[in-house]
Amino acid sequence: MTDVWPQLEPLLAKVAKPARYIGLEDGARTPHHAPDKVAWLLSYPDTYEIGLPNQGLQILYEILNENPHAVAERAYAPWTDLEGLLRDRNIPLFSIDSHRPASAFDLIGFNLSAELTYTNLLNMVDLAGVPVRSAERRPEHPLIVAGGHCTYNPEPIADFLDIVVLGDGEEVITEINEVVRDWKMSGRTDGSRENVLRELSHIVGVYVPSMYDVTYEGADLVAVTPRYSDVPERVEKRTVADLAEFPYPKTQLVPITEVVHDRLNVEVFRGCTRGCRFCQAGMITRPVRERPAEQVRTMVEEGLRRTGYDEVALTSLSTADFSGIEKLVGDIVKSTDDGPPVSVSLPSLRVDAFGVGIATQIQRARRTGLTFAPEAGTWRMRQVINKLILEEDLYSAVEAAYSNGWRRVKLYFLAGLPTETDEDTLGIAELARNCVELGKAHTKSPSVTASVGGFVPKPFTPFQWFGQNTVEELRRKINLLRDDTRKSHGVQVKWHDPKATLVEGIMSRGDRRVGVVIEEVWRQGGTFQEWNERFDLDLWTNAMATHGIDPDWYAYRHRTEHEVLPWDHLSAGLHKDFLWQDWRDALAEVGLPDCRWTPCYDCGACTGYSIEHIVASATPPAGGSQGTGQDLGRSVPVTLLGRAPVVVGS
């Protein structure tokens, strides 16, 4: 297959940031295509800058390229300027490794981390020259696959996907590869597409939407059932039991041009059992599986040497909870002492003096700002969301930050949480003001920024039954907060316009009927909707009106206990009655300690898969952590995925 480089080359001088289309990263593999190798185009439905650092895609890229039966390349969404030029000249979507047309691959795999990228997925499939609807594809078309956190409710995009993968991809990718290889070797004959999809549906962790019938009664969804007896009634997620077996990425890609999270990233553990009820990542990635500290040290040391990066992030949902984190951080700092300066960052900081202690250890110079995520303004509200931070925890953290030389504190909050009252909202302002007061003992003009995001309930969380706040209500709460802090010196309130929360809500918990809205918005040019300057609420509300989709019913309505949820035929390992009980506990303002160090609540994540939490230490980390035998309600460190990471000292 000839590459598109000769046609592409003259266009690149005409577009913004052309370096994102040339590949050439250190760590990129030279692809060797062959008739007996399955060709994967691993794709991210957003720009190169956002998509390249995605660790999931990088891990799969390496695993596939190590497999003698597979070859993998990568693609990202071309920005609108290049897309226009490509469409004018009939140039298809291409891989950035060898600039091969996307339609020349056997599978196009997408990582879905944000609902607002769905229209980009459709756009990329279309740019590849592939029909956007699965039903219209023929044997010559690539299979369209998706994985990532959003696929725990893939129903809104079910009609556009051939295969959905739930959970960790490290092992299942090889199983999929073998089935697709048989299909490829047999010549992809007429009618074979249905057969290969049915075959793929037998793999645990693989969901094939077209193998299921959806039944409605009036407006209500009543069942999603397999069309054949050999297709599973419920699709279970995949879980890698031992992270130590997968020290990936081994050669992290080092891009030529600047990207987000542009540093060495080493995953120290997967999963989180803090139990924050708003946090989908913490619920669907259980149980906790730590990487052995020795392996982390090796990956950091070799990674820094190989990439030339001067920054390493120890990633996880709550890195301060890693067993022996103080020693690990100390070892890394010490091992880089005699070389060029290296900074260590933790993507989330625990809200207590212990967390600040670690920050102090790794950030010896340039202490400018620290970020904490208390998430809610009152203790009552924090019990509802199970983010069990006492006010004293926050104050001890802030006190420690200021006394160790930091000058700015940033606090993350959510607005629109279940049972939230104006008192809870105003509690955010109160906390911020008290933090400024604490800072005055240490610095002349302490600054505290409260960053407020609108809450969108997610599948497989206890809040999946909650009817979210309207855009208007969220705006009212933000204004309330803004008015209240207008005269508070040192307090700044920052917020994202909540206009996108309605669309996120509908796609997060929608069913297959929502698909037509996504397609319509895409056809109207609504791409890059997660970019504030490109998001267009009118496009969405018009499309919903055209297709009779009621936003109130999908986003703002509380669900009942026995209602069939669109993702009930999928499983993240969590028992539905556990989630329902946790929802009742939330409404009763009852907190639940971390099960890593306390008895099991039987959420299902361990028992269902016969695995256990893998933690190096049976005792919880030192400091005021919940579950340490101290009062319930000591610090909890989880922050939502997809937020800006806490870079210590930035």
């Binding site: 001088a13 370096a19 289309y21 030529i256």
Partner: protein, 243 residues
């Protein structure tokens, strides 16, 4: 100890920006474990001084940067093998061509270089037509252009910055778009003339095809020399069209 490095930048990598290249260099120097001096202060940076910026999408046979090495470790670095040592850590298409030690008292690259030679492809034009364009331009006494500076339109004359223009012939067969090629010597001081401005100043304005910087020149006492003397550590000249 300060060393000066000449490198080429050809092929796909031409679409990286000057800033991208600076970051690639910083990583390459760390990977090569070269004892580069580090700035003092809260955000320590390697002491690397880049020459004139090369526009994104332009190729070059002669890019330069100066690197300060720590003493005494720097003096034990083998300059003879340094080009081969650095190149593998740089992106494909970037090749270190030569290295030499320079005095710290030497002017910085940005101050010292006053003229650059460019090879410019003009799509959709015959060599004969381009010859007429070039003649007309060289015969003109002034070449007024309007350029935007901080949002304001400023009138400017670029004629004095055009030192010489020579038509070479038709574009090579590997050119993405067929046309004609010419060589241009353009001043970088007191005001630099960019190839894009030059093409826009033709009547009618011409499109920009591939552009390659071939030389940078320092002029002292009327004599012209390249920032690295010819006898410096050198490797075989890079072949054009690397991808």
């Amino acid at each position: 100890m300060r060393i000066r490095v000449r490198y080429s930048k050809l092929g796909k990598i031409r679409f990286s920006s000057h800033r991208d290249m600076a970051r690639c260099w910083e990583r390459a120097l760390r990977r090569a474990e070269l004892p580069v001096s580090i700035t003092e202060g809260f955000s320590p940076r390697p002491k690397v001084h880049f020459g004139l910026a090369l526009s994104t999408s332009h190729e070059s046979l002669g890019e330069y940067l100066d690197i300060d090495l720590q003493e005494p470790e720097g003096s034990s670095v083998d300059l003879g093998t340094l080009p081969e040592r650095l190149t593998p850590f740089l992106p494909q298409g970037v090749v270190v061509e030569a290295v030499s030690v320079i005095e710290r008292s030497e002017l910085s690259l940005q101050e010292a270089v006053t003229v650059c030679t460019w090879l410019i492809e003009v799509p959709g034009v015959s060599p004969e037509q381009l010859e007429i364009d070039v003649r007309t331009m060289l015969d003109a006494a002034t070449l007024p252009v309007i350029r935007e500076r901080k949002g304001k339109k400023v009138a400017d004359d670029i004629r004095s910055g055009i030192i010489d223009l020579r038509v070479i012939g038709a574009t090579p067969s590997d050119a993405p778009e067929q046309g004609a090629v010419f060589e241009a010597e353009l001043a970088t001081q007191p005001r630099s003339v960019r190839p894009a401005e030059l093409l826009a100043a033709f009547d009618p304005p011409r499109n920009e095809g591939r552009v390659r910087r071939t030389h940078q020149w320092i002029i002292t006492d009327g004599a012209r020399r390249e920032p690295i003397p010819a006898h410096a550590t050198a490797r075989a000249p890079a072949q054009a069209g690397a991808r």
